[in-house]
Symmetry: D2
Subunit: 344 residues, 4 copies
């Protein structure tokens, strides 16, 4: 942290700041400049927050320097983490494509889509059992029935499944039925849920919140890891901005930014990230070109009858094209589509 | 909903859209224009989402028209709702000032601050027992111990208490100990928690999420009300923007916007909304001037020792000034500070 | 500036950074911490930008500390600036209300509105001669004819006029005809125009750009002042965010933020800041309550026939209410509405 | 446009709205729904703005439907426009890479960089003569001297040049010296400058403003085209959001969005769009993968001595990698890097 003093700060004001820094258990490093003095603050002290120095007389502003995350950081673990999701590696040299319906609607619907996802080369099947919906009057998911459907379909097609948990109860069920637990954007700072996910046995896919900074996303991952679950994958799914040509603004530059400071895998969800079917293919290619470890794609064989998010779902033949082009783009970067699990 | 066709859309494309609208159970109203045709969609059909028409050939765009909220709407209840919080009316002609520490740290600290809040004219005492913190390494609150402290202080000073719940378990405890349940910004779309709050006995203060639209805030309130708890108060606490002179951007124009379309009370939290002590007084005045029903203010007698959010906490004497000026501003609008509960 | 090194940075990398800082003419102040080293940079060197250190091996990030503005700063001039606009003081203890049509449409229209603005207690008359419109097919203003109309109306009602300049040519005409030159939000970083305004004789009202930080707004004012025109007033008119209940998000917390770091007056434009007639009165009150030195209000006697921005224009009787309530709010802050110029 | 009435709107209120729509010269199409009536508005009337209906009694909200742009629209011209920049086609099947320094600093510097850009396979040379800088105290460009340097370098290396104009005077000089006129993000709504560019002879590269919607960008292009200059290329360069891991948030989904509704070429500037050297290569790949017609890259052989934007400039060998990978990505889409002009 750096405490910047006013140009007109008096020596005794500077001294008072230095004394308070030391009282809090930190070390103070005054840096006299041409016009003003700044005071560097180092050390790791107790619980008190040195930001309060902002209100000391003569203080112009406080500039935070250090980051609170540790376990997620590349400084803590220089090599990329590779997360094993029931046999599918995420974050290594191979890239993956996750496909499936927004919501599990029936066994038939899920089987039909899963068959197409698997055949196209998708490595994981997604499908919502618990749907966080903006309106209480929208379809909220089939719950445990959907988890049973997903589990049956997994057995049939040998494709690991990922699905969202929205509270402690659903998290325990998802941990039991599925291969990977998704924490959605709206729950990225549901810290109670993050701690539960940190005590689960399955890997966690953590989606970036709609207005989360990179630091906040990493700290939410830190919540999970600090409880003991190190198998965390991050996912960019678009952020809120003024732009109105897509439902959200897909922030692909977060991909190289994460790769620089964290060892965790980063996936991209262009379906929610754009909310428009015609943007999913180009943004899937762009995600892989930016260095993402995979994409999550909503697929539906009858999107005009889907119970949620039909407008952004791809038809199965469009999904096949995504898989082909993702592979081709990955090869430009010296990577390639990871093979799906062989049928057992 | 309005379906806007391309200028070059062929008659059979328009017909196909009309047929699909009717197949979904809605009524279609084609409106031929000089350059293109638009098709109005009315009616309330089943679960299918007419947004999928966006992907029909010849369709240029889909424009949503109706809103999903009902119970929160002034169309459903034209008169202002007045919520009774253990004897304190919120949303009537009187305005209120809620004060207290960010986090309950000890009985002594809470007593000291509560005494000053009450003496200054504050009607409700706030204080966090469960603190949602960005970092897992920050102080997370004293939990049930804090609730017991708050309850003791309430008895001593006859001041109702409001505190945040972060999951089902804490919500049940808060519902038992406190007079009002706060749902924080990070949980505004934790729909599972909202439903629990809807089944609680106590009134709920629902804070706007950091990137929530007005529509989303109202739909989150609708979640609570649709479960049977009609005692909901809304709270603006700043949104995420590019602006960096405050921690969040306090969006005061949401106050008259809410007053226009909803009957629910709306409070403002200038402490979190700005994150800067020196902005709390001016933005408290501005909130009341914009028509808010009250303000939430963080108060600490020793902010430089506070375990969280010290930089934005007011000293008790600053809080007294807020109360005085809030009252003076309210009088310009023909309102006034509501009297605090008389000591029993 | 602070250069933060990676935890794993080697001593020779730290040395290389220090050497480069000194090569650029700055002084380097290494601050060794528990985990990493930071290096403070002080001094004012030549043209080279020390941000390039970001790409040096071992550097984690660069944190800017000092601000580039000087003349606008309260450190340069501790006392509030009071700008005299042809007899009307802006920025002193009195607050002002500027009213008038979005665009000058005719002599009759302007006379009618000016008469009502003056009678209601407005101190300055606004009215667009050159209108920056998003579409080339919208009404673009009457140009010099409008300036002549404004000048005639000023003589008749003894009310100084303010109008926008959009390029060098219009700026010279506005400087000649009007009492105050407005630079609009879209031109806030039209630096060529700012320099021209800096060489004009009349005071300048500079509106904040739609996505301008406070620092950028102040630096744009610095452009004007650094050319010799010290009579600059700032104006908040709403910024771009995801929020859609108003046309822009009026950022009132910028008012106390500016008052803290600059001596320049700050006005607020709730008409453009909200884009909604029914939000203008509450946000005018809120602006003054936050500490603004005045408000700019669009007024039209027949808004349903206005050639631009009719939806946000107030009727003259609504403007009278704004003036009355602005005065009442100002009195709570120990200020008051400034009297309009006496008819000569 | 659609006028949505309140559920409780009375028949005479609906009639009054219909009458006013017709009085303005439009046609009204009432659509009675289950709960409320909406009124479609069609036709192209005079100058009056039907948005004022928002303030009529019984009106809930106004929803705009049609777009004001015409010439830029794919409805006006279904086929992609290919712009010829002194022999280099932009917008066809080939993709292009534009390289060069942020600012022209000297003949030597420009020659050195141009030689490397050309040799690497870049088709156009960029270099600023007039620099819009946030601070008046930053280097503002060499002006006409820089234009002369660029022209000399063009002759030597047979590479067309593109450079920014910031006002009428510089635009005339750029039009005379350069092959393509750049309008920067800060001037995207400098409508006076856009009109001048519309009367220039050279093609125009128009950069998206920092908070411009797609509609606003297209309307700014429409300003240029409506003056007669049809050779317009668009450029995404990042927008302002809360995200702080890059200087701006590069909004790549605007690329397919533009391709869908406009025939104009769209380029991407990942140098300004991220402001970080280490993000330029991945985001260049991503831009082409999303369907962009080319990228603009800042290149400097000694970035640590650059007079502006050194931190984001690529070294020449990095630029070579960008060109190679852009070509490889383009081939996945059935496109390829366009060959540079042969030395004459």
């Amino acid at each position: 942290m750096l405490v910047v003093m006013e140009a007109a700060a008096r020596p005794e004001q500077i001294e008072a700041v230095v004394r308070h820094i030391e009282k809090l258990g930190f070390r103070a490093h005054p840096i006299p400049g041409a016009f003003r003095t700044a005071i560097g603050v180092t050390g790791t002290a107790g619980k008190a927050d040195p930001q309060v120095l902002e209100n000391f007389p003569g203080v112009k502003e406080i500039i935070p320097v250090s980051h609170a995350y540790k376990l997620v950081s590349r400084e803590a673990k220089p090599d990329d983490s590779v997360i094993n999701v029931s046999g599918v590696d995420v974050g290594g040299n191979g890239v993956i494509v996750i496909g499936g319906p927004c919501a599990v609607e029936s066994l038939d619907q899920t089987r039909t889509i899963a068959e197409r996802v698997k055949r196209a080369g998708g490595q994981l099947l997604r499908g919502g059992a618990y749907k966080p919906r903006t309106s209480p009057y929208s379809f909220q998911g089939l719950g445990e029935e959907a988890l049973e459907i997903l589990a049956r379909v997994r057995e049939e097609f040998d494709i690991p499944i990922i699905t969202e948990a929205v509270d402690h109860e659903s998290l325990q069920l998802v941990d039991q039925y599925a291969d990977c637990i998704q924490i959605g954007a709206r729950n990225m700072q549901n810290f109670s849920l993050l701690k539960s996910a940190g005590r689960a046995r399955k890997p966690v896919l953590l989606k970036r919140g709609m207005s989360a900074t990179l630091e906040e996303l990493l700290l939410s991952a830190e919540y999970i890891m600090s409880e003991g679950n190190y198998n965390v994958m991050l996912c960019e799914r678009g952020v809120r901005t003024f732009a109105d040509h897509t439902r959200n603004t897909l922030d692909l530059s977060v991909v190289p930014a994460i790769k620089r400071i964290s060892h965790l895998p980063i996936l991209v969800d262009p379906s929610h990230g754009t909310g428009k079917r015609n943007k999913v293919l180009p943004m899937s290619r762009a995600a892989i070109a930016a260095g993402a470890d995979g994409v999550l794609i909503e697929v539906h064989h009858k999107p005009e009858e889907a119970l949620s998010d039909g407008p952004q779902a791809l038809l199965p033949e469009m999904f096949e094209q995504v898989v082909r082009e993702v592979d081709a783009i990955a090869r430009v970067l010296g990577r390639a589509l990871q093979p799906a699990l062989a049928a057992s």
